[in-house]
Each structure stands twice: as C-alpha cells, then as structure tokens.
C-alpha cells in the first residue's frame, strides 16, 4: 500500500521494502516500519482476540500499553507488534484465535459476559466438587495468550553491560535531551536512554511550530545535534528502561540494529543522579466498545500518518480532551482524511487559535461532547453525547480518535520510590517528594508549553549535576527562573467515564475488565484499589497497567469506597516493559573451578561432577559400584585428585589464639612434623568442618579444610575473632596446591621413585608431616593420612608443577598397577573405615558428640573461648539425639539405598550411606539413629522407598568395619 510521501517527519524508508508472512500470505512493509504499521498498511485491522471474550482488537496506541497487537513472531509469543521493528522474512501469526482474527470461532464468548462477572470463577465450578477437575482443564485451555513450543530454542546474541555514570536520563524527548546537555556541559558522565529507535519524543512527529519557522521535529534534531558534540554523553536508543532501584540503579534493555553485535542487550546502570523525562501517554476514554478496532488514541493516529506515512482511516470522528488531539485532527485533515467532527470534553482548548484552524477547514468542533458508544464491527459509526448524556448524535466514521487526555509515564519514578499524589489541577499523579538524586522533567509534570518542557529539562539537568558536586547554584537558579517565566502546568480533563453503564466499557483490555466488573468488585467489599486489581485482574496483563493505570484509581475514588485511592496509585513493578528471559539471562557465563588435572582426568575416563565450585571425577568406569577401583586401592595403589581441599596459611603473633578459637581441640599441642586432626563446630556445637593442622614455623601454621568450607574459612576465622583485635595473618592457598592422594599398600614404593629421601615407616610414620623435593626440583608437602584406610600420602604440590609430578607418579606406579580412583571409590573406602563426610553423615543439627567425635573436643579449654564449646558442654549427655552408628545387614547382601529410613512405630533415623563391601563381603552402612537405638547390637528396621511395607533388618555394630586396629594405614 502506498505511503504519504511528503511527510518531513517520516521514519520509514520507502526505498527499502521488506517482505514478511502473515496468515500464509506475503505482506510487505518498509525499513523503519513496525510489524503493526506494516500490517495496518497492508489492510489488517484486527490483530488479535481478547483473553476472555474473544473480542476483536486492533491498533490502539503505538507504545505497547496493551496486548492488542500481541502476536507470535518467529515462534516467540506475545510480541508487541506495534513496537517491534519489521525485519525481512518475519513469520507473523495471530494469537488466541480459533480460525482467524477476523473470523474467530470463539467470538461468541462476547455475548456470555453476564455469566462471567468479576471473579465468577471463585463462585462457580466447584459445585458439585466433581466438575472442578474438568472445569479447570477448560480454564487452562482458555487462558493464556501466546503459545510456545517446548522445543523452541532462542537464537541470536544476548549481551549485557554494567556501566557507571554520573547522570542517567530516562527519555530522549525534548526535556530529556535538554537535561542531558545541561548535565554534560558541567563535565559529568551522562547516559541517556530512549525507548524508541530515535530521539525526539513527542516533538519528533509534530510538524507544528516550536518557534517561528522552526517546527517541533526540527527542534528535536537541533537538540540531538547538540548532544552529539558532547563526548561525555552516551546515548542508547531503542532502549527500554525496565527497572529503577534504590541508589539509582537503572536497568534497561536495548534492541540491536543490524550493525550491533547483539540482538538484545541488558543494561545495568549505576548512576549518581537519575532524571525521569518519560513524558506522557494518553488516558483511555471509557465508553461502550471503547476498544473496538477503528478506535485509537491521538498519538496513534497522528504518528501513523506522520511517522509511518499511513492514513489511519477515511472518515474520522475525534473525541478528545487535549490540544494535541486538535493538532492531530488538523494534520490528518491536511493529509487527506475527512474529519466528521472534533468533540472536546473541555469547554475550550488551551490555545484558542486551534479552534479557528478547525473553522478554516470547516471541521465541526463540539465543546462538552464525548463519545458514548462505538458501533459496528468493523467500526461504522459513533454515537456522541453531551457530558450529562442529555443530547446525542450519531456520526458515521471508520476511525474514532478517542482520548481522555494525557497521563504521565510515572513508572520509573514510582519504582524509584518517589511519592506520587493526585493533583486536582492537572488530574495527574504528580511527584510529591522525590528521593535523593532523583529528578523529574518535562511533560510528566503536567507541562504542555514546549519551552517550559525544555526549561524543566534544564532545571533537572543542573539539579542532577549539583547532586554530583558539579554545576553552580546560580546556574540552577537562573534555569528555575526561566522555567517560572513560562506557562505552568495546564488544567487537565477530569472526566473519568462517558455517561454510560459500562457493561462494555473496558478499563483493562488485556484482562477484559469492564467498568461494570469494577463496580461488582466494590459491591463485594473489595475496598482497596490493590484488592480490586487482584480480584478483577485489571492491570495484571502484558500491558503493565498502561491502559488502566490511571483510570482505575480515579474510578475507584469516584465510587467513594477507597478514600485513599487518589493518594495511592497502584504499584508499578519491574519490568516496566515486558522483557525476554533471554535478555535478562544474557551471556550467563558459567564460572566453575578446574584442578590442574582436569583435562587429564577426563581423558582417563573420569565422569565429572560439579562439587560446589569445582569439577571432580566421580567414577572412572561404567561400573558405578567401582569394584575394580576399590580393589586396586585395597591391593595395589591408586591416585585421587584431591586438589579441592581447602588449604590455608595462618601466621603471626596471635595465630595460635585464632586456631584455638575455631578448632575444638587444643591446638597448643601441635608438635612439629606431626599432623593434628581436629574439627570446627558452629555455636550450636554442630560439626561443620574437619581437617588437619601442621606447624611450619614459629607462629606459622598450615591447615586444611573440607572442600565445602574452603571458600568460607578465612571469613569464618575473621568473624569469630572480630571483637578481639588479634594480630594474625591468613592466606588462602586452596588453589595454590594441587593435592594428590596416593593410596594403597604399594604407595610407599611408588613414592620412593620420585622422592630421594628416607620415607620408611620409621622415618615417615603415620600422621607425620614432612616437606620434600620431588624429582630433585619440585617442592612438595606430604602428609601421611589414612582417610581410605590404607597406607596413603597426601601430596601438596604447587599447582603449576602438579601435572609433572602426577605424570612421574603414574609412570613410577605402572609396575604396581597404579590407577585413578574417583570420589565414589573414596566414598566406599572411607565408609569401610568408618570415616565420615560432613554433610553426608551429619545434618545441620548434628553435634560433634552425635557423630562420635566428641573426643576431639578439649574440655580443658575455656568453653566460652572456643566456638561451639558451650553447646558441646550442654549437649554432651543429652538423650534422644540422632547418633551416628555403623550397621551390618541381616540376611541379605543387598545394602539399603542411601536415604532409606530407620523405623519402628515411627521414624527413628535414616541411612546416610550403605554399600555392599567387596572387601568385607557383606553389606554395611552408616546411619543416624535416635538414641537409644544406637547401642551396639540393636536390631534396626529399615524402610526403603517403594518397599511396600517390606522392611529389611540390620544390626548396629561397632565401627570401623575395616581394619579396626588401623594396622594397614600405619603399615
């Protein structure tokens, strides 16, 4: 369809056609078109069907205030077609229709409105109870607008930036640009966000005069040019602000153009000052069938012609309450539309000259008249009435431009915790008080005069700069005086609704909420606006309250139920514009840690698992019982990558005091060359960590923690000494050392191949610590420990050397059958040895006593000085606690599954771990069971999931199961 070519404000490039498909047909638009403008130009008038009543819906506004133009584009549901730039090849589909939007088989729903009053579902469908399960499936099917395939995969690049700035300006209209310039001229860093793909705001499409011979759109271009000369302004167009948080954190997302490396990108801006210059949208006029296709708001009709070059109709009626409506009527008349009448709710326009312009064109001007009902579908005529409803006239038309006036876009202010209050003069919710560093400018203050709008931007820009310590108070004062010299905020239209009953007057399009529904809710006792919103769902749809946001509190206040309605507009919530999860998710870099052996472990067949921040090998074969790995440790030798253990250096005059504070043992008893095993508890006396400590010098210790505690240990020690002022230093060496657990009866023979020193059992016995040089070069700290119950060495080697040492050990171990082992093997081995893993054999509430490690606690230390010791005192002899026990299965070689429960008439505990032990040739395990079931010899009954009541029996036995005398690990 051809476009108006001679509009100087055109934003489409008619030399660049773009084709796309809709309803299996090829449509064509131009570069710069939105999907909706292209469809409209192609003759489409009905874009969707409404949620509940399946009423036809069309182009109403162009800024996404409702879901009328919600469509499926390229498989993505609920795309707002009026805001989405057209791209070549787009696949566009209508939503919520059976058939086509024009012929929707569900259209009959519209006549059932009497059966569906506000909240009808709460009062029906449950009588009798058996119908509800059927009804709810019907409700589910009927609900929902768009559809998405479970197999849908988003393509495209989603990026993010987190810039810091001094001033962030929301809105690139005249006041926003003026504010940005004013702030930037003081030398500050400024970021300006504009939702549309271009700057200019409501100046951009207006051909009327800003000043003599300078049309508004030209003025906008001037401001834009001025901004371009200031390198400290970063302008983001096509960037919708979606959130404002305290301390002026602003979030937004930008839609990329073909030159950008992203499709959408998320912005999180930290600003010192924020200026909200978001202007106005229109307050919908409430009358019967106010959302019929063919009814649209002023700017929608105006911009269709001026921005997109499309005539919105052939013969129009206007029912407006603002000068911009008259201006639009004049422009549209000049563009070729017949104007049947301009009805104005007001007695007079603000600018009398506009009336004479209407007269010059012989357009009837009806003061004090308003639309009462839109008739015909598609729109054929409109009935107009006087405000009291006393007179009526019907005019034929295919376009009804309807608007009750302006409404400020206060979402950003409201989210930023500004206090808004109803202002009788303007009829707006205006900022009553603004948080520190938040400023407002432009039309949202009720200003209409173009220069006043700019002046308010100047004031806001300088105020924002002053808040950042720049700009002079005098400059601000001058700007304020300039603003004071311009016309102030205009009186706004205060009509809430045309004189109708409101059965089909929609206050919320998205939710099909009518004025009548609101009255019903009020009658039912819903006396707060927020409650009415919840009960009727008004404002909870994809339009983010754009349509009902202003009218709802006005309507509620009019019915005198909520006296506070006007002091409290409904809450605005992020995202202020619906935002793709893909955009919020962004690049989502997955950050995790790898040990120096990571790739090698994988090459060796390691099945990797994420353990906290680390990746570790759990198995080295498909046999998840790990029989071969286990037997190899018991008979030969193996290596485990235990790099993830926490490792720390603590030194300084008060290092010992700090260790005494957090460990339950007496750390003064550490002797050089010896390992001290101990545990940390929290103040509940519950075990949170175990590890070893060695002394390496005077006031200089090296200690290990479990993998889980590695990240928190420095914090923990500093926290528990925070009132003491002690002098000690901590270095987290967790990543510094790779740890190789070399275990098995042949471990010594393997180790002696790389260490040229006496490591005989006499020279380097169990529980000893020594530092060696491996391969004559590599410094290595070795601990003789026995977690898996065999002769074993824990080698701590600097990360950069680890691979070399590992290779050397592998090579040396070949004759001994050395092999990798993973976490599951370690798990079984240590269970056989009766060693616990915190978190596996302990719960949050499990004390040191409960797991049988009470002996680690040194009761001679002053209890108040040791974290957890008071609780250890108080719980030492407590009864009916869950205690850790070992058990053997009776009459079965099958172990119960981990997590099975111990029961009698009630639950008495649970199995922490149980395995069939190839070493012991029987099924054994560890369980937490309630005292006194923990006594050795007690028979316990185990209930497994899906056991159908078939219990299995086990006997509590002493631990360890394997090598109870500890001969093997000492050998």
């Amino acid at each position: 369809m051809s476009r108006l070519q001679n509009q100087p404000t055109l934003r489409v490039d008619t030399n660049k056609p773009l084709s796309f498909t809709y309803k299996k047909k090829t449509f064509s638009g131009f570069k710069g078109d939105t999907v909706a403008s292209a469809l409209f130009s192609g003759g489409i008038r009905i874009f969707s069907r409404s949620l509940k009543y399946h009423r036809p819906r069309g182009l109403y506004s162009l800024d996404g205030e409702c879901s009328n133009t919600g469509m499926e584009v390229n498989g993505i549901p609920n795309v707002n077609a009026e805001k989405t730039l057209l791209e070549k090849g787009m696949q566009v589909k209508a939503q919520n229709v059976k058939g086509s939007p024009e012929l929707d088989a569900m259209g009959f729903m519209d006549s059932l409105d009497r059966a569906m009053p506000a909240g009808f579902y709460y009062r029906t469908m449950h009588k009798p109870a058996r119908i509800w399960p059927i009804a709810l499936q019907q409700v589910r099917k009927a609900a929902g607008l768009g559809k998405i395939s479970p197999d849908f995969r988003m393509t495209g690049e989603f990026d993010e930036i987190f810039p810091t700035t001094d001033v962030c300006v929301i809105g690139g209209g005249p006041s926003g640009m003026t504010a940005a310039i004013a702030a930037a001229e003081t030398g500050l860093r400024v970021i300006l966000l504009e939702a549309r793909p271009w700057l200019g705001g409501f100046f951009d499409y207006r051909q009327s005069e800003f000043s003599r011979d300078l049309p508004h759109y030209q003025r906008a271009r001037e401001l834009e040019a001025r901004m371009q000369t200031l390198p400290n302004i970063r302008v983001f167009t096509h960037t919708a602000m979606v959130g404002a948080y305290s301390n002026n954190l602003v979030t937004a997302f930008q839609i990329g153009n073909e030159k950008d490396p992203f499709d959408e990108r998320y912005l999180e801006i930290r600003a010192q000052s924020m200026i909200v210059a978001t202007g106005c949208i229109e307050r919908p006029l409430l009358f019967e069938n106010n959302e019929r296709p063919g009814v649209m708001q002023i700017a929608c009709a105006h911009r269709l012609a001026n921005t997109y070059g499309i005539l919105p109709g052939k013969r129009a009626v206007f029912s407006v309450a603002h000068d911009l409506g008259i201006e639009a009527a004049l422009d549209l008349f000049d563009a070729g539309i017949e104007i049947a009448a301009v009805a104005d709710i007001r007695d007079n326009p603000s600018h009398a000259a506009l009336v004479s312009e209407l007269e010059q064109r012989e357009i009837p001007y009806l003061k004090g008249w308003v639309a009462r009902e839109a008739l015909g579908a598609p729109l054929k005529s409109v009935s107009l009435t006087t405000l009291q409803g006393t007179f009526e006239k019907k005019l034929e038309c295919d376009l009804l431009v309807a608007s009750a006036g302006m409404t400020p876009v206060t979402g950003p202010l409201s989210m930023a915790q500004a206090e808004l209050a109803f202002d009788q003069h303007t009829g707006f919710f205006l900022p009553k008080s603004l948080p520190v560093g938040v400023y407002a400018a432009g039309r949202l203050l009720g200003l209409n005069d173009s220069r006043a709008i700019e002046a308010s931007g100047q004031v806001a820009g300088l105020s924002a700069a002053l808040n950042c310590g720049k700009a002079s108070a005098q400059a601000l004062k001058d700007a304020q005086e300039m603003l004071a010299g311009r016309p102030q905020a205009e009186r706004g239209c205060n009509l809430v609704m045309a004189p109708v009953k409101g059965r089909k007057a929609f206050i919320c399009f998205d939710e099909d909420t009518t004025v009548k529904n609101i009255k019903q809710a009020i009658d039912m006792g819903f006396d707060a606006t927020e409650l009415i919103k919840r009960f009727t769902a008004a404002g909870t749809g994809p339009g983010q309250s754009g349509i009902p946001g202003h009218n709802l509190p006005l309507l509620v206040a009019q019915h005198h139920t909520d006296h506070g309605a006007l002091t409290r507009p409904t809450t605005m919530r992020a995202p202020l514009v619906p935002t793709l999860m893909a955009t919020y998710a962004g690049t989502n870099h997955l950050m995790s840690k790898r040990t120096p052996m990571h790739e090698r472990q994988k090459q060796d067949g390691g099945v990797m698992r994420k353990i906290g921040v680390w990746n570790r090998a759990r198995y080295f074969s498909d046999d998840f019982s790990c029989r071969r790995e286990i037997e190899n440790i018991r008979n030969n030798v193996g290596m485990l990558d235990a790099t993830t253990l926490g490792k720390f250096r603590i030194f300084g005059p008060d290092a010992l005091k700090a260790l005494q504070r957090v460990y339950v043992g007496d750390m003064a008893k550490i002797s050089p060359g010896k390992i001290k095993y101990s545990a940390m508890c929290n103040e509940d006396g519950c075990i949170i960590d175990d590890g070893v400590v060695v002394q390496r010098g005077e006031n200089d210790y090296y200690f290990t923690t479990s993998t889980a505690r590695a990240g928190i240990t420095v914090e923990w020690i500093r926290y528990h000494t925070r009132y003491d002022g002690w002098d000690f230093n901590l270095v987290n060496l967790t990543d510094a050392f790779g740890v190789i657990n070399l275990a098995g009866p042949k471990a010594r023979e393997v180790l002696s191949e790389v260490i040229d020193a006496d490591i005989s059992n006499a020279a380097f016995p169990f529980a000893a610590y020594q530092e060696f040089t491996a391969l004559d070069t590599i410094p290595v700290r070795i601990m003789r420990l026995g977690f898996v119950g065999e002769l074993s060495y824990e080698l701590h080697v600097p990360g950069s050397w680890m691979e070399t040492l590992w290779d050397a050990l592998s090579e040396a171990g070949k004759p001994f059958g050395i092999a990798n082992f993973g976490l599951e093997t370690q798990n079984v081995l240590r269970m056989e040895k009766g060693h616990l893993i915190i978190g596996s054999e302990s719960e949050q509430r499990t004390t040191l006593h409960d797991v049988g490690l009470g002996g680690l606690w040194d009761r001679n230390k002053p209890a108040v000085d040791t974290v957890g010791a008071v609780a250890l005192q108080q719980t030492e002899n407590q009864e009916k606690r869950l205690k850790l026990v070992g058990f053997k299965m009776k009459n079965t070689r099958t172990p119960p599954k981990d997590g099975s429960i111990v029961v009698d008439d009630r639950i008495r505990g649970h199995v922490c771990i149980a395995r069939y032990s190839h070493t012991l040739q029987e099924a054994v395990g560890m369980a937490l069971v309630e005292d006194p079931l923990h006594a050795v010899g007690t028979e316990i009954s185990i209930y497994e999931d899906e056991c159908q009541g078939q219990l299995v029996s086990a006997t509590v036995v002493p631990m360890p199961f394997y090598d109870p005398k500890g001969e093997r690990l000492r050998s």
């Binding site: 305290s246 301390n247 002026n248 954190l249 914090e715 500093r718 926290y719 009132y723 008071v870 609780a871």
Partner: protein, 80 residues
Amino acid sequence: MALTLTCPVCGKRNGYEFRYGGEDKGPKPDDFGSSPETWCDYVHMNRCVAGIQKEWWCHRDGCGVWFTTHRDTLKNLEME
C-alpha cells in the same frame, strides 16, 4: 532495591559483594556459658529491628574485611 554498602577499605560498593554477619550483639556476654537460655539469647535470638540497626558485614567478593555499619531495615539503605 540496590543496596550499596561502604567498605572501609574499598569504598561504596554493590551490596551483593557483601555477606551479612548478623545484628551487632557485641562480644559474648559474661553469662554466655551459664545456661542454655543465655547461650541461646546470644546465638539465636534477634531483635529484628524494623528501622536502623548496627550490623556486621564482610566484603566477601572484595577485600574480605569484616566491619560494622548502620542500615535502615525498613528501607534497606545504609545510613550515610
């Protein structure tokens, strides 16, 4: 909200860089170990102030320091 906290070492930072360390209850009182109730009062009980309270924070993702600051829990804002 976007909580910011002022680290005594690194300055004003995003609140998510920090870890909360509880109401500032002072050092353990003298009667801390004397009864389960006095133990519990210090370890578990909170005043849950709806307003300004002094509390501990750790600059976990930054320099690691523990420090106290005053914050208004009704606004989730650090006091200047």
